[in-house]
């Protein structure tokens, strides 16, 4: 009964979506307020029905209803409750339902909190968003229905893949989807602006919070995925330039560019046409990411061809929305009026440069990801594009961008003074040079490590420079500094934090890749192995039974310069249901660095293969992402986004926004 309810609720959501995708739009074109008013209640109703559908599926999983095919395939009655819950989206069908749930959440949020958006724009936005929703409801119902029953209910499920039985699954996919799907709002706003043929600074102000929310979630989602892979997979890697990772990274790069260009549009009414294009591209990349991951095209072109139904369906959605949006753009964008002028050396100029580089890096990742597929499809030649390619192409581009980051926020709008800004950055630059020298002298390390450290320092110190200057730290008396700091717009704090976070992540990457050490050895009880200042002693093994697995644990005593600092217990779990083993690495945190021990095979004579890593500064990689997201949150709480822009009636009589001081 419950799965059928869920199924039926999803069908109803589709029906509502169809209404929402047409009626309000017609109302907006004809100026009929009653029809426009349909948008908000239908968006809320759509959310309610998808939520019912999702809750039904959750109920099936939590109660282990194995008569439902997806529950049978991905769950087990002995799993802990948390994993029963998270296994809802640990598979294709359930994760698609989560996708549309989040889509409807965003629609409902716009309906509920978008009261300051003019009615026709709001109606159009919700309509456009509903087109996307309708397409994906049809996709789920036609090809990926999670509620299909088995004729004979099996007694026990096949268990969730052990690697997914982790807290990471509770956080990573929902966050990632909040990011992906959140960009659908920016997309809907862009399409609505094209349909209306009108766009202004107020539009940018309405779009920015939604883009920010999506960006924050995507940042955290990617970081969480990376961290999860790091601790769970047993060999300490955190990024691999794999197509699936790239699929989430491309929207992030485009979304970051969008945040910056929307800023120019909001403050200066410039870059309108470009911002619209970026909003379209960002969501398009989210859709492409969904296509890449879902269709199986990544495994090989042939895997896609052998089971083409789902893939073709998503491809059709892709072509329809991306093609349609770009066609609409080509037709309507030339009609949009261009805004404010600015000199090349200015805040706007810096943000344009930021966009140029972010778009180029995004394009590089795009080509690197899809070129092998295209080449194979066209010429049947198979090539591989892996991490070394991206190190050589993405790396240099991003380094140039990093060096430019500190300049942007210090430049004035309209016409900036590069020389002055360079002088103001002298301290940051000096710090970077000191960092480089220290590394060179103390470690005698290769150029790469020193340069990386220098750039990271420059980014962090440069972002701090802006705050220091604006609060007059070290120049003004302390109470005044505090008053200025409090009075500074939140968005200024947000910018600084986001940029500092970027520098912190870079620092972590440099530390982990340049100073890391590893030992791969085969050990027996009593053996000792040294890595840097640390000694690891194999003390003994033990085994125990978990709820749905058996576990072998090895105890290591860790000494630093002869002094005992703790014990590390890496384990290996065997899951009988799927006949699989997983490694649970032992991690010891020392400041922001980590020691990492994971187990390999146990040989017949009782020796255990062990991998030991020293990973300096590694935690900074994810800490930096959290700081970036925090910066985004600060920016989101800025007064001008909360208050919103003046309504168009007032806007005609000179918008107040134009009178606010530039930040």
């Amino acid at each position: 009964m419950i799965p059928e309810l869920g199924h039926f609720a999803l069908v109803l959501a589709l029906a509502i979506a169809l209404v929402q995708s047409t009626v309000p739009l017609y109302g907006a074109r004809t100026g009929d307020t009653t029809l426009m008013g349909v948008a908000a209640p239908t968006a809320l109703a759509q959310f309610a029905f998808v939520a019912i559908s999702f809750a039904a599926l959750v109920t099936c999983y939590v109660t282990s209803d194995f008569s439902v095919a997806t529950v049978f395939e991905n769950s087990h009655s002995s799993m802990p409750l948390l994993y029963k819950f998270t296994s809802v989206w640990g598979n294709h069908e359930g994760s698609m339902l989560l996708w549309v749930l989040i889509l409807s959440v965003f629609g409902a949020l716009v309906a509920a909190f978008g009261s300051n958006i003019p009615a026709p724009l709001k109606a159009t936005v919700l309509s456009v968003q509903s087109w996307v929703a309708a397409a994906f409801y049809v996709f789920i119902l036609a090809t990926s229905n999670p509620f299909i029953r088995l004729a004979q209910a099996p007694f026990e499920g096949r268990d969730l893949n052990p690697i997914l039985q982790d807290f990471g699954l509770a956080v990573h996919p929902p966050m990632l989807y909040l990011g992906y799907v959140g960009f659908s709002i920016s997309f809907a706003f862009a399409i609505a602006a094209l349909i209306e043929g009108r766009i202004d600074a107020a539009w940018a102000r309405w779009v920015r919070p939604w883009t920010l929310i999506a960006w924050i979630c995507l940042t955290l989602g990617i970081a969480m995925g990376s961290f999860w892979a790091y601790y769970t997979l047993g060999w300490g890697g955190w990024w691999y330039w794999d197509p699936v990772e790239n699929a989430s990274f491309m929207p992030w790069l485009a979304g970051t560019a969008l945040l910056h260009s929307a800023l120019v549009m909001e403050k200066r009414e410039a870059l309108k046409v470009w911002t619209i294009l970026l909003a379209i591209l960002t969501f398009s990349l989210s859709l492409i990411g969904t296509f890449l991951v879902r269709s199986g095209v990544l495994t090989s072109v042939h895997a896609f061809a052998s089971d083409p139904w789902r893939g073709t369906f998503i491809l059709a959605i892709l072509v329809l929305f991306i093609g349609g949006a770009l066609a609409l753009y080509a037709w309507r964008a030339p009609m949009l009026k261009q805004g404010g002028l600015f000199a090349p050396i200015s805040r706007e100029g810096a943000l344009v440069l930021n966009n140029l580089f972010l778009t180029t890096t995004c394009g590089t990742v795009f080509i690197g990801t899809l070129y092998p597929l295209a080449l194979e499809a066209l010429t049947r030649a198979k090539i591989s594009v892996g991490a070394p390619y991206f190190d050589w192409t993405f790396g240099p581009l991003f380094i140039v961008l990093m060096i430019a980051v500190p300049f942007g926020p210090l430049l004035a709008w309209k016409r900036g003074d590069l020389k002055g800004v360079t002088q103001r950055l002298t301290a940051a630059f000096g710090l970077a040079v000191i960092g480089i020298l220290v590394v060179c002298v103390a470690e005698g390390r290769p150029v790469l490590a020193a340069a990386g450290l220098g750039i990271a320092t420059f980014v962090i110190a440069g972002a701090a420079t802006d705050l220091i200057e604006r609060t007059g730290l070290w120049r003004a008396p302390f109470p005044i500094v505090v008053r200025r700091a409090v009075g500074l717009p939140r968005s200024a704090w947000g910018t600084a934090f986001a940029h500092i976070g970027l520098g912190i992540t870079l620092l972590g990457i440099v530390g982990e890749t340049q100073w890391g050490g590893e030992q791969i050895v085969s050990l027996r009880q009593g053996d000792k192995v040294a890595l840097r200042h640390y000694d690891f002693t194999f003390e003994g093994t033990s085994s125990r039974n978990g709820p749905n697995y058996k576990e072998l644990a090895v105890r290591f005593a860790v000494h630093r310069n002869g002094e005992l600092i703790g014990e590390m217990v890496p384990t290996k779990r065997t899951f009988p249901t799927r006949d699989m083993t997983t490694t649970e690495a032992a991690l010891m945190t020392r400041g922001v660095s980590q020691l990492y021990v994971s187990l390999g095979d146990v040989s017949k004579d009782g020796a255990v293969a062990v991998r030991i890593y020293h990973k300096p500064l590694v935690l900074l990689i994810w800490l930096g992402a959290v700081v970036m997201a925090f910066g985004g949150g600060l920016s989101l709480s800025d007064r001008r986004l909360r208050v919103g822009a003046p309504k168009p009636a007032k806007a005609k009589a000179k918008p107040k926004a134009a009178l606010q001081p530039a930040e």
């Binding site: 047993g234 699936v244 590089t364 080509i367 030649a381 090539i383 591989s384 390999g600």
Partner: protein, 163 residues
């Protein structure tokens, strides 16, 4: 085994078979000569495990990756240069084995794309700046003459009409 495997597992049930914990380089593979071993590790990062999804042989625990790692080390012990090792593997397994494709006509678009995107982007920007500057220059060179009504209003404001 990697993050992508996690994500892929989320989506592609068929990938489940590939999901075993990874333990790439094994202790017994490691060469006694640390210099040769370091070269082997660098080379391993650039070679693809052909039965895996986009994993280097250094990262993969597939039996094939193990064989390739041993092969790379054997070639190095026999005195091959890095280049010779790669050539040997390409001759045996094709270009597919290289994670960093060589620059040739087939891969030229791949390698040139980043710089091309950057240059095209910069050119479009440059053109936009140039166009705007010219437009502005044209405007400031010859400001539109005042219309008759404006002339009259100016005269009224400056009081010229009352003289």
């Amino acid at each position: 085994m990697r993050i992508s495997t996690i994500i892929r597992l989320l989506f592609v049930a068929a990938a489940l078979a590939a999901a075993t914990p990874s333990f790439a380089v094994r202790p017994d593979e490691i060469l006694p000569d640390p210099k040769l071993e370091a070269r082997a590790r660098v080379l391993s990062h650039e070679l693809r495990c052909m039965v895996c999804q986009n994993q280097s042989i250094d990262d993969s625990d597939a039996p094939l990756a193990h064989d390739l790692r041993v092969l790379v080390r054997e070639r190095l012990k026999a005195g091959d240069t890095d280049r010779q090792v790669l050539d040997f593997l390409v001759a045996r397994y094709g270009e597919f084995v290289l994670l960093k494709p060589r620059f040739e006509w087939r891969t030229a678009p791949l390698w040139l794309a980043p710089i091309a995107i950057l240059l095209i982007g910069a050119a479009v920007l440059g053109a936009a700046v140039h166009r705007r500057r010219r437009r502005r220059a044209a405007r400031s060179d010859a400001p539109a003459p005042l219309s008759e009504s404006e002339q009259a209003r100016l005269a009224e404001l400056t009081g010229a009409g009352r003289n």
